[in-house]
């Protein structure tokens, strides 16, 4: 009875819980806030704000709820969940009992998820019940409604035990690779040619095969295309090879299977449906199987499911008692019967099956008995299971989903521009066609030497094709593959970054996708969740009697408490009871690791408490489904757990009813101080002391809990049990009736004490937030936490400052929300739309109304007018919806950062999703685009990598466009003098090798090594981020400007050599030249110009830049030389024969070699330098500073920081100032002082008048307000100008 009863009990409780939430009743939680939504203008003061907030909270609000888990910022508001991870989120709002799958509830959740057509496999997100239409849109937009239906309609499968397979099921071997040996070529080509650009070039290649149409030869596009396909093919092969290897590793893992009446080691891939598998401790399960037996008592087993749902706590599974005895080979091999179950599907929580054992009545099998592939057996010596699903039919694999492909903004702009360029190409071709028609019209008759009448039959279409082929290279063929490689390397740089390596868990940052690298440089609105909250570091256990001691790092070491306990202090019993309670009243699962016990808890708070009491000698050792064992002072006590009274946000407490080792019935409860105090019996002691402690804890910013117990009589309990059973079967409003029922027994508590837990922020969070704010990044906190918690976090991470007025929106009706929003908008008046020093705080309930289409706009305006926005109590979907809202209506690039499963939706919705790989499992990380270990690494990720990558990628793209336009527009210029005949001026292969050889390197160096300025500067001056953020370096304007520039260059590059060779007499022997001679001139000049242009774009020349720029020119010259000698040995390029001798010997060539590129680049140079001087950007300032630092000169900031100057250095120093102003701030004097070189001897003059006596020049604090360079300061032994700032 007990076991069964317990399970159903929990299940019902959960079901009830779910039922309540699914009705979306807001409860009275926020009633107290009512419709109050006005501007609060009383600023918070000083550093004590947080503490005060706590104090206030503990005073009048229910601030000291049971600890919400960090990361498990659960949403308890009108949502259904469908996965265990989501279940955990419910539960993890408060300490709760151990994880035991509740059959009924699981099924319900899944059913509901199905019926609504929502549900995103693998994530905690499912649809809302009564949410606005907006959500639907979000869902559709995000593609969450995946084709789940197909798997839902599943056939029943029958598995016969110990019999050969009657029907073939999926093999257990898996393959995640994209290609196989045979499918590689077709599949790869298909994938490549489904890209528009590649398809275009394929089209051109095909066109070139039409006889007489191609002006450039038949294979000149094919070759670069092949090279490009080969390069990305190699990349694909390497990546796929890794996947193959990983698959092989998995497939060849071994497990023990019952074969021919004996246990045999077989490889995973040989495991079949119907096999009986024996798995031992620590092993990963090879397939989905029905648990039939285990080594543990009560046929339970513990399983780690972090692979599946990212939850790090262990979960308990329990086999059917009917099969528990079947353990030996003999028993098992004599088993006969069948299992009937549903077909494979992706729902983790459902399983419907029946076990028919011969000679026994059928037994239903539920999800409790299904062990899933991907999970790991823990704390269990062995288990036996019958395999039901294998390979891709396992729920784990069914849940492996394609991540939605995100494309960066730059990529989108680029593809638009490619399209525009394509149109331009068509336009050019048409113009050329027209030219050809006109030319033929004017000349056609008389040109006897060509016999044009033979061609006059050619239609306009034919000519058009000729010109399309002629100009097709305007579209940069190598751009895609260049970007692919560039971004790959950029991602590697992110992965390699030592600064983003967290020693705490040895985790590096990881770019899981590389196609968003540049997007990192454009983030304008990251929305982050409570993920800033770090690992729990501090646990305080307060005790009503003894003064609590705050200790660090989970080390609870309160000598007084222990002393009192050991010395038989009058409070000894209370202390014992207090500690026992903390050992018993929770949902933690212990895991033995040798001698140590590792606590697996869904809520780190619970684990911390249990660990805390362990230090005090109360060790929680074992958990059974119906009991827990505690080793207190060397003795083992087993508590039988009868009921778990679940936590809910309404109740703000959690209780267990246990039978103590002595046989008494007792109720242990922990919860918020207010609810506990309400229920204390009159006999309760220490009430006053505890209150003082609570106050003290709150002041310290700790999360507090009160613990209390009550003894129950048998009669009382039985009576209550009846009530409970009744309540748990109520269909309508079950939650309420259950709560009422719980309330009946949770009374007459005896207070035991209070606990406090510190939820410490991760390192450097406030600093990071300050920096990000400076970088003009708006930060919105979207959290499932309570409002108070969220506000406190916002305070402690300096998102909200003490003097910042708040706007609070807490309404429970649409009208009220509308009114509040309008009211606030009016109050802001003209300041709306601008960033004001305001904080907007809104809860999920209000948000639901605020996002109605009528007021959505004004709400958004209001939110955008505030510097900080806090959204509390949000469901995962609401988080995603806010991100969607910002994305759609503001048009900003959004970044979502989070660590929990509830952040997945948001992470996938945002332009850039960042997962924090931390304690909360891997779900967020797995669905993110970038994962980092610490929130503070966001700073480096965005400000350094983001800014750099943006600069790099945009430069690379612009440059690729530029170089193509430069070369291929020349063909157009040439068309003007060759009668629009489509003749090319260069050798065929030069045209096709241009992108793949001669100018392939500079884009790479620009894309990989370019640095706008040093990492240090980027971090020191977050303002620099605004450059890339605003996208000023890459937009349509810049693109066309670059194209115009290329047009001018191409014009110069064609026109100047043409004029030079106008009279054909440029060789010393008087020889005349041909068209290719001119072509080679131009081509060489193009290469030089284009390479040097890359140099001009390069802000930071490292060795690779030099190699690429000079190397490219050299490669061309070498190639040119060799190529001029191949005919007739190799039958290509007869026209080229002898060109190199003539070209290089031609003085005009060398004279042009210097002047033509100079003319092109001088324009850019003058433009750049005038811009840089006239309208000097911050970036230029900083680069100047860096460069002077590199030259051993000290720029102002350096000067300010570490300066010790002897007095007599000042004249020297000032002399170096030339005309620049130096401001000196001298303590105890007024105003800044200026020094000018006019009066170096008198040291300082203020405004040109005041002369500071030498004797006063002590303790100068020097601040320089203009940028200039200093000679290295001479460090004196007798410093008189130390600046300590």
């Amino acid at each position: 009875f007990q076991s069964e009863g317990w399970i159903s009990h929990v299940a019902r409780a959960r079901r009830a819980h779910g039922g309540r939430t699914s009705h979306g009743s807001a409860g009275c939680r926020d009633a107290r806030h009512g419709d109050r939504a006005v501007l609060e203008l009383h600023p918070r003061r000083g550093p004590g704000a947080q503490g005060r907030a706590k104090k206030e909270g503990s005073g009048d609000r229910n601030l000291t709820l049971p600890p919400p888990p960090r990361g498990g910022q659960a949403a308890i508001l009108g949502w259904i969940v469908s996965t265990p991870s989501a279940l955990r989120m419910f539960g993890s709002e408060a300490p709760r009992h151990q994880r035991q799958p509740g059959t009924a509830e699981r099924a319900t959740a899944a059913e509901e998820a199905q019926t609504q057509g929502f549900g995103r496999s693998g994530s905690a997100l499912t649809g809302p019940v009564d949410f606005s239409l907006g959500c639907q849109k979000v869902e559709e937009k995000m593609g969450w409604q995946q084709s789940l239906q197909e798997s839902d309609v599943s056939k029943v499968r029958t598995i016969y035990l110990n019999e050969p397979l009657r029907n073939s099921f999926c093999k257990n071997s898996i393959s995640t690779a994209k290609y196989s040996m045979w499918s590689f070529l077709p599949r790869y080509l298909y994938l490549q040619f489904s890209k528009a650009a590649n398809a275009f070039f394929l089209f051109i290649t095909i066109l070139q095969q039409i006889p007489d149409v191609s002006p450039t030869g038949k294979y000149t596009t094919l070759l670069p295309l092949m090279i490009i396909l080969m390069v990305s093919g190699i990349k694909e092969i390497v990546e796929d090879y890794k996947r193959h290897m990983a698959d092989k590793l998995v497939n060849t893992k071994t497990t023990i299977v019952l074969r021919e009446n004996a246990w045999k080691m077989v490889m995973w891939k040989e495991v079949n449906v119907g096999d009986i598998v024996k798995a031992s401790n620590g092993q990963f399960l090879p397939a989905d199987m029905v648990l039939i037996s285990s080594s543990e008592p009560q046929v339970t087993c513990y399983v780690a499911t972090s692979n599946l749902d990212g939850e790090t706590n262990l979960k308990i599974w329990q086999a059917l008692l009917e099969t528990a005895e079947m353990q030996t080979e003999k028993q098992l091999s004599s088993l006969s019967g069948k299992i009937e179950c549903e077909g494979p599907n992706h729902h983790f929580n459902t399983f419907i099956g029946t076990l028919y054992l011969n000679g026994k009545s059928p037994v239903p099998i539920g999800p409790d008995q299904i062990l899933l592939r991907g999970t790991q057996l823990k704390n269990t010596q062995w288990i036996l299971g019958i395999v039901v699903y294998t390979g891709f039919e396992t729920k784990f694999m069914q849940n492996s989903i394609k991540l939605p492909l995100k494309r960066s903004n730059v990529e989108k702009v680029t593809s638009v521009q490619i399209l525009v360029l394509f149109l331009l190409l068509l336009a050019m071709s048409l113009v050329s066609c027209l030219g050809a028609i006109l030319w033929n019209h004017w000349y056609g008759e008389g040109i006897w030497y060509i016999r044009t009448k033979d061609y006059s039959s050619h239609s306009l279409g034919f000519d058009l094709l000729v010109f399309i082929i002629l100009y097709h290279n305007l579209i940069p063929i190598s751009l895609l593959v260049t970007l692919e490689i560039v971004k790959y390397v950029q991602a590697m740089f992110i992965n390699w970054d030592e600064d983003m390596h967290y020693k705490g868990n040895n985790v590096y940052a990881m770019a899981r996708t590389s196609n968003l690298n540049e997007e990192l440089g454009q983030v304008k609105a990251p929305s982050d969740t409570g993920s800033v909250k770090g690992t729990l570091k501090k646990v305080d256990l307060g005790r009503g009697l003894s003064p609590s001691v705050i200790t660090e790092s989970c080390e609870f070491n309160d000598p007084k408490l222990l002393q009192n306990f050991e010395n038989g202090h009058p409070t000894k019993d209370y202390i014992k009871e207090f500690l026992t309670l903390l050992c018993v009243c929770h949902t933690v699962v212990p895991e033995r690791d040798g001698k140590d016990i590792i606590y697996q808890a869904s809520s780190p708070d619970e684990a911390a408490l249990v660990k805390g009491v362990k230090k005090l000698g109360f060790v929680f050792t074992t958990r059974m489904p119906t009991s827990v064992t505690v080793e207190a002072m060397g003795e083992n006590f087993t508590f039988e757990i009868l009921n778990v009274l679940e936590f809910s946000s309404n109740r703000k407490r959690m209780s267990v009813i246990v039978r103590t080792p002595t046989g008494n019935l007792r109720l242990y409860c922990k919860g918020a101080d207010t609810v506990i105090y309400e229920r204390l019996s009159e006999d309760s002691r220490f009430m006053k002391e505890t209150l003082t402690h609570l106050e003290y804890f709150a002041k310290e910013g700790l999360r507090t809990l009160c613990v209390a117990h009550a003894d129950l009589t048998e009669e009382e309990y039985q009576q209550w049990l009846m009530q409970y059973k009744k309540a748990s079967t109520v269909i309508q409003d079950r939650m309420r009736s259950l709560e009422e029922c719980y309330d009946n027994i949770e009374k007459k508590f005896l207070l035991l004490g209070a606990t406090a837990i510190e939820d410490r922020l991760q390192a450097c969070v406030p600093e990071t937030i300050t920096t990000l704010l400076k970088a003009n990044i708006r930060i919105w906190v979207l959290t499932g936490d309570k409002q108070e918690t969220a506000i406190n976090i916002a305070y402690s991470c300096k998102l909200i400052s003490a003097h910042m007025p708040h706007i609070r929106l807490n309404s429970n009706s649409f009208e009220a929300t509308q009114q509040a929003v309008t009211q606030n908008c009016e109050a802001l008046g003209t300041r709306i739309g601008k960033e004001n020093d305001l904080a907007l705080i809104i809860d999920g309930e209000t948000l639901k109304y605020a996002l109605h289409s009528e007021i959505k706009r004004s709400f958004l305006n209001l939110a955008l007018s505030c510097r900080a926005v806090l959204c509390c109590r949000l469901s995962p979907l609401q988080k995603a919806e806010i991100v969607y809202l910002v994305k759609k209506h503001v048009g900003a690039i959004t970044l979502a950062i989070g660590d929990g499963a509830n952040d997945v939706g948001m992470i996938q919705m945002a332009h850039v999703g960042v997962g924090i790989s931390g304690n909360e499992g891997m779900l967020a990380t797995n669905s993110s685009d970038y994962s980092i270990a610490q929130f503070s690494y966001l700073e480096k990720l965005l400000l350094v990598h983001g800014a750099w990558n943006h600069f790099r990628v945009t430069k690379c793209i612009l440059y690729c466009f530029y170089k193509n336009v430069v070369l291929y527009i020349i063909e157009l210029w040439f068309a003007f003098v060759n009668g629009f005949s489509g003749q090319i001026i260069f050798e065929h292969w030069f045209i096709s090798l241009y992108n793949v050889i001669f100018t392939s390197l500079p884009p790479f160096t620009l894309g990989i090594f370019e640095q706008c300025c040093s990492q240090k500067s980027l971090l020191t001056y977050p303002q620099l981020y605004r450059i890339s953020q605003a996208g000023n370096t890459f937009n349509t304007k810049v693109f066309w400007f670059q194209c115009l520039n290329a047009l001018i260059h191409s014009f110069i590059l064609f026109w100047m050599p043409m004029k030079m060779l106008e009279h054909d007499m440029v060789l010393q022997g008087g020889h005349t030249t041909d068209y290719l001679f001119l072509g080679n001139f131009i081509y060489t000049y193009v290469i030089v110009t284009v390479c040097l242009k890359a140099g001009l774009e390069t802000l930071s020349w490292n060795k690779f830049s030099h190699l690429a720029i000079w190397g490219s020119i050299l490669i061309w010259l070498v190639f040119f030389a060799i190529y001029s000698f191949v005919w007739p040995t190799i039958p290509i390029a007869p026209e080229m024969r002898g060109q190199v001798n003539m070209v290089l010997a031609c003085p005009h060539f060398w004279l042009g070699f210097f002047i033509v590129p100079t003319v092109c680049l001088i324009l850019n140079l003058i433009w750049k330098s005038i811009i840089n001087t006239y309208n000097r950007t911050l970036l230029e300032e900083i680069r100047e500073m860096e460069s002077s630092r590199a030259q051993g000169l000290y720029p102002p900031t350096m000067f300010k920081r570490r300066y010790f100057h002897t007095f007599h250095d000042f004249p020297k120093l000032i002399r170096h100032l030339s005309n620049r102003r130096l401001e000196l701030h001298i303590p105890n004097s007024t105003g800044p002082y200026s020094a000018t070189p006019a009066s170096p001897k008198v040291l300082l003059s203020v405004d040109g008048n005041f002369i500071l006596p030498v004797s006063q020049a002590k303790n100068l604090e020097v601040t320089l307000t203009s940028s200039f360079c200093y000679p290295t300061p001479i460090v004196s032994e007798n410093p008189i100008v130390p600046t300590s700032k």
């Binding site: 898996i174 994209k178 002006p215 990983a246 698959d247 998995v250 893992k253 972090s306 849940n399 991540l403 492909l405 008389g446 006897w448 060509i450 033979d454 390699w496 040895n506 985790v507 590096y508 895991e591 891997m922 003098v977 009668g979 005949s981 489509g982 003749q983 001026i985 100047m1056 043409m1058 030079m1060 009279h1063 007499m1065 010393q1068 022997g1069 008087g1070 020889h1071 005349t1072 030249t1073 068209y1075 001679f1077 001009l1096 020349w1101 490292n1102 005919w1127 039958p1131 003085p1147 042009g1152 001088i1162 003058i1166 750049k1168 330098s1169 005038i1170 840089n1172 001087t1173 000097r1176 500073m1185 005309n1219 620049r1220 320089l1264 203009s1266």
Partner: protein, 361 residues
Amino acid sequence: MAMNYNAKDEVDGGPPCAPGGTVKSRRPDNTAFKQQRLPAWQPILTAGTVLPTFFIIGLIFIPIGIGIFVTSNNIREIEIDYTGTDPSSPCNKCLSPNATPCICTINFTLEQSFEGNVFMYYGLSNFYQNHRRYVKSRDDSQLNGDSSALLNPSKECEPYRRNEDKPIAPCGAIANSMFNDTLELFLVGNESYPTPIPLKKKGIAWWTDKNVKFRNPPGGESLKERFKGTTKPVNWVKPVYMLDSEPDNNGFINEDFIVWMRTAALPTFRKLYRLIERKSDLHPTLPAGRYYLNITYNYPVHSFDGRKRMILSTISWMGGKNPFLGIAYIAIGSISFLLGVVLLVINHKYRNSSNTADITI
């Protein structure tokens, strides 16, 4: 197919944060490359820093330009149009198609003597040698003496590939339209008998063309035999093996032919026709005085409004007369210098405008 599934998770013991999972350190090397700290030169482009560049460019380019300009100006060049479209021109009579053979004579005077080697060119205008259909209409294998290509020329030569069922050698439109005027130069001088100026017809083609690219087909004693089975281009009067009397300037390796086969880049072009070699240091090659040009007028240009010219030119170290480069160098140098001055002003004016105040806060 970015799958969420990572087989490694199953092998390594799950994600790094999973309890008990062994964490493989993927610590990268702390190298300058991987940490992106490679030493780099960071050029700063402001008025102040690029100033010297402009002055240097100016200072270098202007003298070079002057040098080139002077050199170019010292070159003697005379250009005589003999198209004959002008009715007063002696060659006007040759425009009518039935006047063949037509010989006309044009008188001209050299004001200054031409010293050193003098080069004689013919120039054509409005002749699109760079037309696509024209440029490709040749078979380089055939011209290289390939026997199979000789008898079976490339399709590119169409419609000048075969004539009367015989392959054309040399095939193609370029060869077919070869320039075939004959130019002779006479110095009138003081005596009544004009002195013919010796015109050298060898050495006018590129060395590689003459020796590598163009070869007569192998075999046979006489050239005629080697070209057996081929026919002359449609427009030609004589077959290719009768282009010249000298065997080393006949057939495909005839230099006039080779020169023609290098198709010009622009519709107005010159081709080297003859060399007038310097006789001695004492006498100018072409002394000042009256000359006449004897033209055997064959080549029709009237139909496409073309012009024909004869050019006599001396040559400097950098080729023939072309003032463009000199002017370009001088112009760019001056502009550069000017820009330098402008930058100097800008630099002076804006040097102190600064955002650093923002930075130091």
